[in-house]
Symmetry: C2
Subunit: 361 residues, 2 copies
């Protein structure tokens, strides 16, 4: 069938140009006579690909020279555990800013490697706002402060990153990395599962300040030490070569789109269009999030009558709008508007929503 507009929260839409290129060279990449999946990660062809992807990512995000870029595995979830393994000694504390499902999970998975402490939380507001910086109770002796910049389920996002002083800021940016320019220098460590704004699942991109790699808080096998991965150019063991390749194509595509400033503008327009439709529906559609905290990437919304959910989902699928079902934790609908979702898709969604409202008024 024709390509649909894909609003999946992840694994999510990829750029069609990226997919077409991957398709065209699937059996013969770069004149090697083999698929990129069939090449040794230690051969010159793949090494060149890997280095170019890193260079392009560094250029897109203006990554300072004293940060390492790693291409890892395990999903962000594994790094919820592996980050404290690497950064915190037994008995040491770390501060967590809890703003939704994913920061809750990061907190839970950090045990038994750190004494995680909730320094701020919006749980009491059902994660419909962000805890104001003035209310954060930070410990200056903490090993790090952990932040989830965007919550895919609750649809809240830090658009401005609060200052946390000298304690290294560790940020899970799985769902909004590369959606806008970023001042990497304000972070100690940034990590992101690829399956939203970077590429396919099974790849994690990490950007980490070199001084943090020098921490050796406990004996660890090499495979769990970020410093070892950094020393080996993320080839301590066989990386996810296909994921790295698709990420590299995506970085090239982002550069061709005008880079992150252009993406930020496009993402702003997409989100504004959808929020305007929701807010202008006279309560037919509702998004519960404080406007100042609303995510540009994931827009959860409910219909005024839950009995309409099923007809809405069925009609949207028939209209070529895929994966709008909301997460069970908040119910209703969710539209994810990552980089690879074009403005045209959001226009189609908004037109559908207006039409549905008229027909089921």
């Amino acid at each position: 069938m024709a390509r649909v507009w894909n609003f999946s929260a992840g694994p999510a839409a990829l750029s069609e140009e990226v997919l077409r290129q991957a398709q065209s060279e699937l059996l013969d990449w770069n004149g090697t006579g083999a698929s990129v999946m069939e090449l040794s990660h230690r051969g010159r062809h793949f090494i060149a690909l890997a280095e170019e992807a890193e260079r392009d990512l560094r250029e897109l995000l203006a990554v300072p020279a004293h940060y390492k870029v790693l291409f890892l595995q395990g999903g962000a979830t594994q790094h919820f555990a592996q980050i404290p393994m690497n950064l915190a000694a037994d008995g040491q504390g770390a501060d967590y800013i809890v703003t939704g499902h994913w920061s809750e999970k990061a907190l839970k998975e950090s045990a038994p490697y750190v004494k995680a402490r909730v320094a701020a939380s919006s749980a009491a507001q059902q994660y419909t706002r962000l805890p104001p910086r003035a209310e954060w109770d930070l410990d200056p002796r903490a090993a790090y402060v952990h932040l989830t910049t965007n919550e895919t389920i609750h649809g809240v996002e830090f658009r401005d990153i609060p200052d946390v002083g000298d304690v290294p800021l560790v940020a899970d940016m799985s769902s909004d990395i590369l959606s806008a320019p970023l001042d990497v220098g304000r972070f100690g460590l940034i990590y992101a599962g690829a399956q939203k704004n970077i590429g396919p699942s099974g790849l994690v991109v990490m950007i980490v300040r070199e001084d943090l790699l020098a921490r050796r808080p406990r004996p660890l096998p090499k495979i769990f030490r970020y410093a070892e991965h950094a020393a080996q150019g993320s080839m301590l063991n066989t990386p996810n070569t296909w994921g790295w390749y698709i990420a590299g194509l995506t970085f090239k595509w982002l550069k061709a789109q005008g880079g992150l400033a252009a993406m930020a503008e496009r993402n702003r327009r997409k989100a504004e269009l959808l929020y305007a439709c929701i807010d202008g529906s006279g309560g037919y559609y509702r998004n519960p999030v404080d406007p100042a905290a609303r995510s540009r990437m994931n827009v959860p919304f409910t219909l005024h009558d839950g009995a309409l959910d099923k007809p809405f989902l069925e009609a949207s699928e028939r209209a070529g709008l895929m994966a709008l079902k909301g997460h069970k934790a908040v119910g209703g609908m969710r539209a994810s508007l990552y980089n690879a979702v074009p403005l045209q898709a959001v226009e189609a969604l908004v037109a559908f929503m207006r039409d549905f409202m008229q027909r089921h008024g």
Copy 2:
């Protein structure tokens, strides 16, 4: 260019049929209007794919019902560490059978989670043979016995799996899984990085006896506990969906080839052809491995004069024979003959080797 014959040790050759199918449906999988990479792992389409892949693998290997099949990440190397994390309590011992580079590495990465003990080793013979079972010094109280069934660098392989009594046998089968029928019931746990006989890198397939999942030797984050992955059908977090998909296509392809008995026969013929060429070259080509221990998957060989290495590699590349350079640990050449390498490729290699010997005699 035309497809080459690919002898890479991994990531390695994939079946051309599998690649062609992946190519044809890259932008629209199964009538969804989206790439398989763009689908939620929790949606009904991907769940059906995932379950079918597991069913096919179970059928191919006749996996008994009291074993779980897991689709994980991290490469076999991560599981060198994660297996003792899951199976051994602090201070408990485990026996390692050391037969080459990879079993050495499995032993090293097991610290600090288990007291690993070398129960047998062929290091003194430069890993050119396997330590006879009669000489193994096994501890009946060990948490497990670890074995690497095939060593990709040294080219030795256990064709018959020795009996180790009641202690669970844990086997890294990364490079020979699915190359022949297997009695899974003799193992406690089998694991394999996908990038040799299963699919692309970034995926690990694990087959584990249920009673081992009940061990809880230490507090662990959920993401490191195999039991949690098993309870969630390998969807505790987002799996490598592309890897799982290609693995599924490969399992279907293996079934269409006649299953593992047919593959074993094909692999036997391929290996015999190459070893016969080496052994019949009057010392021009040499393989140092005890014939009883020779790997059917990875055939390392040297030329009688190291000065010929460079011309051999250059001429082989021109002849469309890719990735024959040996690992630096043993030097010379290596031809990996995994399932997806057809007999025709080995015939082409042998013809090239004979011709090269005549021209550079």
